[in-house]
C-alpha cells in the first residue's frame, strides 16, 4: 500500500509510540537518558521515597558537568581536591551516591571521558540516529545532529523517565530550515545557526521540531551539526534534527557504546531509512541563503538579537514591533551599548571558548588557528574550556593547548564553566564577554554580565584584538595571516 511521504521527525516519533491515547497524546519510549548533578537529585529521591527502581539503567548515563569547577581536580599526589562551594559539593556527592545506589552507568568527575553531557553523549556513541534522547537540560536538542529526537525535560520528567523509560507527549509541528548555497570565507556553523535564529526569532520555533536540510548542512561535519542543533531551543523549538547520513555513520563507528558487528549493519540499514521522504510535507519551511551569511554575533540579551560583525549597534526605533523596541531599549541599557556604534569598536574584557555549543575539537582548532602566533590583548581574560576530557587530550596531542597557553589563554578542565553562572567561572557585573556559548540572557554568565554570542574563531579574534573583531581580517584564505 502506498503511504504518504513522512518526515524524519514523523518516522522517529512513530517508531517510539508505546500507546496512543484518545486525546492524541502518546506514551513515547525513551532510548537514551543523560543525567547530570543539578536536575537529578530530587528525581532520585522521589524514586527512593516511592520504593521504585530505575527501569533501564542500561539506557541511562550520568556525568557531572554544570557545577564542577574547571580548575585542577587532583593535587600533585593525585588526590582529589575538595570543591569549595558547599552546595555544589553536595550536589556532586549526591550524584555519586545516587548512581551507585540505583546502578546507573556513571562517568566520574575524575575520569578522562568526563565532560559536558551533550559533548559526552555523541562522543561515547551513546547518542545514536533514530533514538529518543532526553536530559534535564534544555540544550539536549544538540543530539538531534545525529538524527535523534532529543529534547530537555524538567525534574519530574527526569523521575518519570528513570522509573518508566517513557514520557507522555503531544506531537509537534514540523519546520524545515533549508540552508543552501556556499558559506563565505570565515563563516562557520555558529554563524549559520545565529543567522537562522536572527531570521525566525527566539519564539519562531515554538511548537515545532526543526529539521535542518540543504547542501550546507549536508556538507557540515558532525561537530558543526551539533553546534547548529544545540541552539534549536534558542529559536524556541522543541528539538532540532538532521537526517543521518554517511558523515554520521563514519562519526559513530567504533565509539565505545556504538553498535558493532551484525548489529552495526542492521542499525545502519535502519538509520538510512529515516531521512525525510521526497515530497514530505512540513508545516513550515524557511530557506536561508548561505551566501548572505557573514560572521555573526549578538548585540542584545536575546539570541535573536543577531547582527553581522560589519554592522553597527541597532537603534531601538529601527524595529517595527513596539514591544521589540521596548525590549531593545532595555537590552542596550543592560549591554551598555549606544546605537550607531560600530561593533568592531566595542572592547571586551572576557573571552570564553567552551560550552556544549562550541567546545569540540574542531571548535578548538578553529580558535587555535586564529590565536597562533598572537597574544591575548592587555586587559582581556581569555579561557578555553574543552567540552570533555577526551577533547582536551586530543587537543593536547595536536599541540593546541600550547598555542593557547603560549598566546595567554587559560587552558582549563572540562565542564559547563562560564556558560552559566553556577560554578566559579563567572563574568563580573558590567563586564563584557565574547562567548561561544548559547545564551546571552540577562545574568546568564553572572549578575550584570554582558554577553556577545559568536563563533570560536570570532572569540579568538576578540581575545587577541581586545574588541569584537572581524575574524576575516586575521586570516588568509589559506590559513592564519
Amino acid at each position: 500500500m502506498a503511504s504518504r511521504p513522512f518526515t524524519l521527525y514523523e518516522k522517529v516519533w512513530a517508531a517510539h509510540v508505546v500507546e496512543r491515547r484518545d486525546d492524541g497524546t502518546c506514551l513515547i519510549y525513551i532510548d537514551r537518558h543523560l543525567v547530570h548533578e543539578v536536575t537529578s537529585p530530587q528525581a532520585f529521591e522521589g524514586l527512593r521515597v516511592a520504593g521504585r527502581r530505575v527501569r533501564r539503567p542500561d539506557l541511562t548515563l550520568a556525568v557531572p558537568d554544570h557545577n564542577l569547577p574547571t580548575t585542577a581536580r587532583v593535587d600533585a599526589a593525585g588526590d582529589e581536591l575538595p570543591i569549595a562551594d558547599p552546595d555544589s559539593a553536595t550536589q556532586l556527592a549526591a550524584l555519586r551516591r545516587n548512581v551507585a545506589e540505583f546502578g546507573v552507568p556513571y562517568i566520574d568527575a575524575l575520569a578522562a571521558a568526563q565532560g559536558i553531557v551533550h559533548v559526552v553523549g555523541p562522543e561515547q556513541g551513546f547518542t545514536l540516529p533514530g533514538t529518543t534522547v532526553v536530559c534535564g537540560d534544555s540544550h539536549t536538542s544538540a543530539h538531534g545532529a545525529l538524527g535523534a529526537l532529543a529534547f530537555g525535560i524538567g525534574t519530574s520528567e527526569v523521575e518519570h523517565v528513570l522509573a518508566t523509560q517513557t514520557l507522555l507527549l503531544s506531537p509537534s509541528k514540523t519546520m524545515e530550515v533549508r540552508v543552501e548555497g556556499k558559506l563565505g570565507f570565515g563563516v562557520g556553523p555558529k554563524d549559520v545557526i545565529l543567522a537562522i535564529i536572527g531570521r525566525i526569532g527566539a519564539a519562531g520555533g515554538t511548537g515545532y521540531v526543526i529539521e535542518y536540510t540543504g547542501n550546507v548542512i549536508r556538507e557540515m561535519s558532525i561537530e558543526g551539526r551539533l553546534t547548529v542543533a544545540n541552539m534549536s531551543i534558542e529559536a524556541g523549538a522543541r528539538a532540532g534534527m538532521i537526517a543521518p547520513d554517511d558523515t554520521t555513520f563514519a562519526y559513530i563507528k567504533g565509539r565505545p557504546m556504538a553498535p558493532t558487528g551484525a548489529d552495526w549493519d542492521k542499525a545502519v540499514a535502519w538509520w538510512r531509512s529515516l531521512a525525510s521522504d521526497p515530497g514530505a510535507v512540513y508545516d513550515r519551511t524557511v530557506v536561508i541563503d548561505a551566501n548572505e551569511i557573514a560572521p555573526a554575533l549578538t548585540w542584545g540579551t536575546s539570541p535573536e538579537d543577531v547582527v553581522s560583525i560589519t554592522d553597527t549597534v541597532p537603534a531601538p526605533d529601527s524595529f517595527a514591533d513596539a514591544s521589540k523596541r521596548e525590549a531593545a531599549r532595555k537590552s542596550l541599557d543592560y549591554m551598555g551599548l549606544t546605537p550607531g556604534t560600530r561593533l568592531q569598536d566595542v572592547p571586551v574584557q572576557h573571552v570564553f571558548i567552551g560550552s556544549c555549543t562550541n567546545s569540540r575539537i574542531e571548535d578548538l582548532r578553529a580558535a587555535a588557528a586564529v590565536a597562533q602566533g598572537r597574544r591575548v590583548a592587555d586587559g582581556v581574560r581569555a579561557m578555553v574550556v574543552p567540552g570533555s576530557g577526551l577533547v582536551k587530550r586530543q587537543a593536547e596531542a595536536e599541540g593546541l593547548d600550547r598555542i593557547f597557553t603560549g598566546a595567554g589563554f587559560e587552558w582549563r578542565e572540562p565542564g559547563c564553566s562560564m556558560c552559566l553562572a553556577m560554578n566559579p567561572d563567572k563574568v563580573p557585573p558590567g563586564e563584557r564577554c565574547a562567548s561561544t556559548s548559547n545564551r546571552n540572557f540577562v545574568g546568564r554568565q553572572g549578575p550584570g554580565a554582558r554577553t556577545h554570542l559568536l563563533s570560536p574563531a570570532m572569540a579568538a579574534a576578540a581575545a587577541v584584538t581586545g574588541r569584537l573583531a572581524d575574524v576575516r581580517e586575521l586570516m588568509t584564505e589559506t590559513g592564519n595571516a
Binding site: Y29, D87, P105, A111, Q124, G154, H160, K266
Partner: protein
C-alpha cells in the same frame, strides 16, 4: 504518592492573597538535593515576622492552609509543593490557584480546594473563634469542606485528578500501570533494534578509550 481521601484537623487561618512561589519557598533553597527538609524554608520571610500564623502555637502543625486569591503564582518551581508537603500541609483552601501550582500540588498529594471568598471568610472566622481547637474537614468522597458548626461547602475537582488523589496514583504510578504495554514495546525493540539495549553492567562507563 500517598492516597488521600480526607484531611481533617486544624487550619492556618491565613487568607493572604497573591502568595507567589518566592514567598512559599525562597530561591536560595533551590540548590538543594532533597524535597524533604524544605519545610524549614517554607514561608521563611513570613515566619521572620513575630506573631505570624505559622508559628502561632494555636495553629502550628496544621494539615490545612486557608489562603487568598491566586495562591502559588510566580515560577514553576515544584519546590513550592515539596515545601508545603514537608511542612505537613495536605490541603490548601483558596478562592483561586495558579495553574502550575495546582498541577504540582496534585502531583505531590496536596488537595487544592477552590471555594468562594465568603466561604473562605467564614472558615477563617470559625478557626480563629475556636482558637484552633476545632477541626475542619476536607472530604474527597463527598467533595465538601465542613466545620463542627454545621458549615458545609461543596467544591469541585477534575474527576481524573480526584481519582488520582483518592487512590494515591501519581503520574509515574499511572504510567507504571501500563507496564504490559511498555514491556511489549521493549520486546519489539530487542528484536528489531537490538543495538538500543546496553550492557546491564553499570561499569561500562568508561575510562576514555574513545575519540573526540
Amino acid at each position: 504518592m500517598q492516597a488521600v481521601r480526607q484531611v481533617s484537623g486544624r487550619a492556618y487561618p491565613w487568607g493572604a492573597k497573591n502568595i507567589d512561589t518566592d514567598v512559599i519557598i525562597p530561591a536560595h533553597w533551590l540548590k538543594t538535593i532533597t524535597r524533604a527538609g524544605l519545610g524549614r524554608g517554607a514561608f521563611e520571610t513570613v515566619r521572620a515576622q513575630p506573631g505570624n500564623v505559622f508559628d502561632d502555637p494555636a495553629y502550628a502543625g496544621s494539615p490545612i492552609l486557608i489562603a487568598g486569591d491566586n495562591f502559588g503564582c510566580g515560577s514553576s518551581r515544584e519546590h513550592a509543593a515539596w515545601a508545603l508537603g514537608d511542612l505537613g500541609i495536605r490541603a490548601v483552601i483558596a478562592p483561586s490557584f495558579s495553574d502550575i501550582f495546582s498541577g504540582n500540588a496534585f502531583k505531590n498529594g496536596i488537595i487544592p480546594v477552590v471555594l468562594p471568598q465568603d466561604a473562605i471568610d467564614r472558615l477563617i472566622e470559625v478557626v480563629k473563634a475556636s482558637g484552633g481547637t476545632e477541626a475542619i474537614t476536607v472530604d474527597l468522597e463527598t467533595m465538601t469542606v465542613t466545620t463542627p458548626f454545621q458549615d458545609r461547602f461543596v467544591f469541585a475537582l477534575d474527576p481524573f485528578r480526584r481519582q488520582c488523589l483518592m487512590e494515591g496514583l501519581d503520574e509515574i504510578g499511572l504510567t507504571l500501570a501500563r507496564d504490559t504495554a511498555i514491556s511489549k514495546f521493549e520486546a519489539m525493540l530487542d528484536e528489531h533494534r537490538p543495538w538500543i539495549a546496553g550492557e546491564t553492567d553499570a561499569s561500562i562507563a568508561v575510562e576514555g578509550a574513545g575519540r573526540t
